[in-house]
């Protein structure tokens, strides 16, 4: 990378041992922590972050496996699944039954959203990066932090358990609209599986809330001297605003979850209108309102969409600036854009309900606010382009993943305009066009951003690099297979293929889409198996990766001044911050990076200013 790297490496080797323990002692933790305190019930933000990361990577494989089940059915409906079929669905002759299909896509979304995307961003990277990037020795509430990780496990347990109870797992889609999800007789999965789903989501909610309180407090109170708000990296801004979003939106979902739980268990009727006869069971009484759930659910879940995106935007901003070796273009507009997205994010939830039968006047206001939220997203995209323009771009694995983020986010953002326009949404609502759109945002953007971030911050986690060649192979296969899987979904949606059909070809007008679906399924299988490259690269590099020093990428952030991996308490000495994190290519220095902690004497700066 640069002539400085070898020197840094040697330096870090010494530091790793000496300072790690020095920091340890200086914090008065003289006693040796037991294995459990150190690696299992740890209160160290780095360990918790890595616990979150490994858990979410494993859950990514679980969610992916469920998705492949969905894809198998769409390509080879009601046919015996090779190998897996006889193991899992022996009773159905190795086939996916229609009711199991509804459970597959429900739990695919549930796992991916609640156990992968949200925890990998906020839990894994939020935990690992926030104290390191703001110059703190840990989170404000370390025990709360530990609890936030361990509250994820009951959710994993309940979601897993739900497959084995009578009727099976929740099957109402991840949105779980009542009355389908509120009345036990409405679907096989609406029995105990649905109750377990609600309990699991509540645990995830508590976990997220503990994290969010912690992030806000830490970022407000524990910044190093000199780390003003407008010197914070975009990652931190994004995490901060995400935490605010979570703190305000999440209670609504939790409350709504308890309401539907009460409907199911103690006979209330918040969401169940009277006079319904579901599946020949006695007619319902009471006067609930089915649409109320949709309002409450989306009041959380639309901001949640940004919870699933903003941190990735922040991390990609950091990586793009670093590997363009150029300051971030429009730092403040970027910050204001994130704030605008978060603010507007609270008043757009109705665009999920355009055809739900709510007041048409609401449809118009929600359309305008939804269109307007595209604006800060567009501003961010242009600023990313501006960052690369005029740079000295280095195509490392984090960088190519970040470029993919920008390119895929453009597709996902532009397809969003179609559904923001209410009349067009009348047609494409609940079709595969929507599925294409959110996979481009959640996978194409967020997950590629995460892939990049994993490669980028891996050396800080372990003091070793991930293999670049394997990283690039993983990227190329994932990127091509991703586009082959998800881009055709736009066409399926345009052709009017609805989501969540166990057998779309039951409708003659969709029959001709079967070959395309088979192609997509095989692409998805390739994409799924390509993730083993990432896992292998990740786990093998922990042990066999190339050792590096503190700052392998020649980046500016505070985290790169700490040892790799940082010891307990993170920094050798309390860092002092002199500037923002994006002063790459500064004329003040001979090298093209300028760490936030590096002090430059006044004379040198004056000389540069006067052109000497």
């Amino acid at each position: 990378m640069s002539t400085h790297a070898p020197a840094d490496t040697a330096h870090a080797h010494d530091d790793h041992d000496s300072h790690g323990h020095a920091a340890h002692d200086s914090h008065g933790h003289g006693h040796e922590l037991s294995f459990f305190q150190k690696y299992v019930f740890s209160t160290d933000h780095k360990v918790i972050g890595i616990q979150f990361l490994i858990t979410t990577l494993l859950m990514l494989m679980v969610g992916g496996a469920l998705a492949l089940g969905v894809r198998w059915q769409l390509a080879y409906r009601f046919s015996t699944m090779p190998i897996v079929g006889q193991l899992v669905f022996a009773n159905e002759g190795g086939q996916i039954s229609p009711e199991f299909y509804t459970m597959l896509f429900t739990m695919h979304a549930t796992v991916m959203i609640f156990l992968v995307i949200i925890p990998i961003l906020a839990g894994a990277f939020g935990n690992f990066l926030i104290p390191l990037m703001i110059g703190a020795d840990d989170m404000a509430f370390p025990t709360l932090n530990m609890l936030s990780y361990w509250f994820m496990w009951p959710a994993i347990f309940f979601f897993g358990l739900s497959f084995f109870v009578e009727g099976g797992a929740s099957s109402g889609g991840w949105t779980n609209y009542p009355p389908l999800s509120a009345i036990r007789a409405a679907a096989p999965g609406s029995q105990d599986g649905q109750t377990l789903w609600l309990i699991g989501v509540t645990f995830i909610g508590v976990s997220s809330m503990m994290g969010s309180v912690n992030y806000m407090t830490t970022i407000i109170n524990m910044r190093a001297p000199g780390m003003t708000l407008f010197r914070m990296p975009m990652t931190i801004w994004a995490m901060f605003i995400t935490a605010i979003l979570q703190a305000f939106a999440l209670p609504v979902l939790t409350a709504a979850g308890f309401m539907i739980l009460a409907d199911r268990t103690i006979g209330t009727c918040f969401f169940i209108p009277g006079g319904l006869t579901v599946n020949n069971t006695p007619t319902t009484v009471g006067g609930g309102q089915a649409l109320l759930w949709q309002h409450l659910f989306w009041f959380y879940s639309h901001p949640a969409v940004y919870i699933m995106l903003l941190p990735a935007m922040g991390m990609v901003s950091d990586m793009l600036s670093c590997f363009s070796r150029k300051p971030l273009f429009g730092y403040k507009p970027m910050v204001y854009s994130i704030a605008a997205i978060a603010g507007l994010g609270f008043i757009v939830w109705g665009h999920h309900m355009f055809i739900s039968g709510m007041n048409p006047a609401l449809g118009m206001t929600f359309m305008i606010s939804t269109m307007m939220i595209a604006l800060p997203s567009a501003v961010k995209t242009f600023n990313w382009l501006g960052t690369m323009w005029g740079g000295n771009i280095q195509f490392t694995t984090p960088m190519i993943n970040s470029i993919a983020f920008v390119s895929m986010f453009v597709v996902g953002g532009l397809s969003g305009i179609f559904m923001a326009a209410v009349p067009v949404d009348i047609y494409i609502h609940d079709t595969y066009f929507i599925v294409a759109h959110f996979h481009y945002v959640l996978f194409g953007a967020t997950l590629f951003g995460c892939f990049g971030a994993i490669h980028y911050w891996f050396p800080k986690m372990w003091g070793r690099m991930m293999n670049e060649t394997a990283g690039k192979i993983h990227f190329v296969i994932s990127f091509i297979a991703f586009n082959f899987t998800f881009f055709p979904m736009h066409f399926l949606g345009a052709a009017g293929m609805p989501r969540r059909l166990a057998d779309p070809y039951n409708y003659p007008y969709l029959e001709h889409l079967l070959p395309l679906n088979q192609f997509m399924t095989w692409s998805a299988i390739v994409m799924g198996f390509a993730q083993f490259i990432l896992l292998a690269n990740f786990f093998l590099s922990i042990k066999y990766g190339k050792r590096v020093g503190r700052n392998p990428w020649n980046a500016n952030g505070l985290e790169w001044t700490a040892p790799s991996p940082p010891g307990h308490g993170n920094f050798d000495i309390l860092p002092v911050v002199y500037r923002g994190p994006y002063e790459y290519a500064t004329p003040n220095l001979d090298v093209d990076y300028f760490p936030q902690t590096q002090y430059v004497p006044v004379e040198q700066r004056v000389n540069v200013a006067h052109g000497h």
Partner: protein
């Protein structure tokens, strides 16, 4: 495989190879992905990976027009963004010893690229409101069809139950003894706006006529009037578009659009069939029709 796909694949391989040889592999890779994205979208209609034919209702035609308008705007944006992106990747690929330009942004550019998209987005949304209001605001419905709904469509797991008023009568909110019933088989007169009353008996469903571009959720506890006009004679599919349980995929109905005279005959035939007691040879229909006013007096 079409020749176009072969040309596309070979071209891609050539571009990647050239990229690799000139140390511009990544710009070539991302450039190719953008070109392929546009290319496959241009080819898609020829494989019928596209709208299922032209819209067969006036509202659907307007929706298609808006769809294409947005498609043009987004395609231009997509191409413009990617031209800039790929140019940046080619032009500013890392060279050893070169320093990037030290720039933190441009106020003028920020203003331009905030105001221009804002104007476009605002234009798109204001431009659409009119169509939306005519779809959903009942006051804008054709007065005659609003006051004379052709049928009540009740969704239930996993079928569409259709209730017509007896010929010459109005659809009442409460079922009448002489109402006519069918399942999964909705007939309407074509060439004129018709209104159906949509309801649900159990969970959420969605009344989706893909060829007419019409969709409306059926919400338990609510009666929602839906207006559409079939501009064709014949049959099209009626789809349930909102997850309603394990059998959601098979909740298929059929929309038959007929001449007004044939539609009236269809209702009369239905009435005769439904009131046939096997003895009186269809006369029972008339009896039931006469009895109706009494039924209305004693709800």
């Amino acid at each position: 495989m079409s020749p176009w796909l072969i040309i596309l694949s070979l071209g891609s391989a050539a571009v990647l190879l050239a990229g690799a040889l000139t140390k511009k592999f990544w710009p070539a890779f991302f450039g190719l992905s953008a070109v392929a994205t546009v290319g496959i979208s241009v080819l898609a209609p020829s494989y019928r990976w596209w709208l299922p034919g032209g819209a067969q209702s006036p509202m659907g035609t307007e929706i298609d027009d808006l769809f294409y308008m947005i498609l043009i705007i987004t395609t231009v944006t997509y191409i413009a963004v990617h031209v800039v992106l790929i140019t940046a990747l080619i032009k500013f690929s890392g060279k050893p010893g070169v320093k990037a330009s030290f720039s933190h942004g441009s106020h003028a550019l920020e203003v331009v690229w905030t105001i221009v998209p804002a104007a476009i987005l605002l234009f798109i949304s204001l431009y659409q409101i009119d169509v939306w209001m005519r779809f959903r605001n009942f006051a804008t419905f054709n007065r005659h069809s609003r006051e004379n709904p052709v049928a009540e469509v009740t969704a239930r797991q996993f079928e569409w139950r259709i209730r017509y008023p007896a010929p010459g009568k109005k659809l009442m909110q409460k079922p009448q003894p002489d109402d006519l019933y069918t399942v999964n088989d909705l007939h309407v007169p074509f060439g004129e706006p018709v209104v159906i009353q949509l309801r649900s008996e159990d969970v959420l469903h969605s009344f989706f006529l893909p060829h007419l571009r019409i969709k409306q959720d059926a919400v338990p506890g609510a009666i929602i009037p839906v207006q559409f006009q079939a501009n064709f004679e014949g049959e099209q599919e009626l789809v349930c578009a909102e997850l309603c349980g394990w059998g959601h995929y098979k909740m298929r109905g059929q929309l038959t659009a007929q001449r007004k005279s044939e539609f009236d005959k269809y209702l009369r035939d239905l009435q005769a069939r439904q009131s046939d007691d096997g003895v009186s040879g269809g006369r029972a229909a008339a009896v039931v029709t006469q009895a109706t006013p009494k039924a209305e007096n004693h709800p």
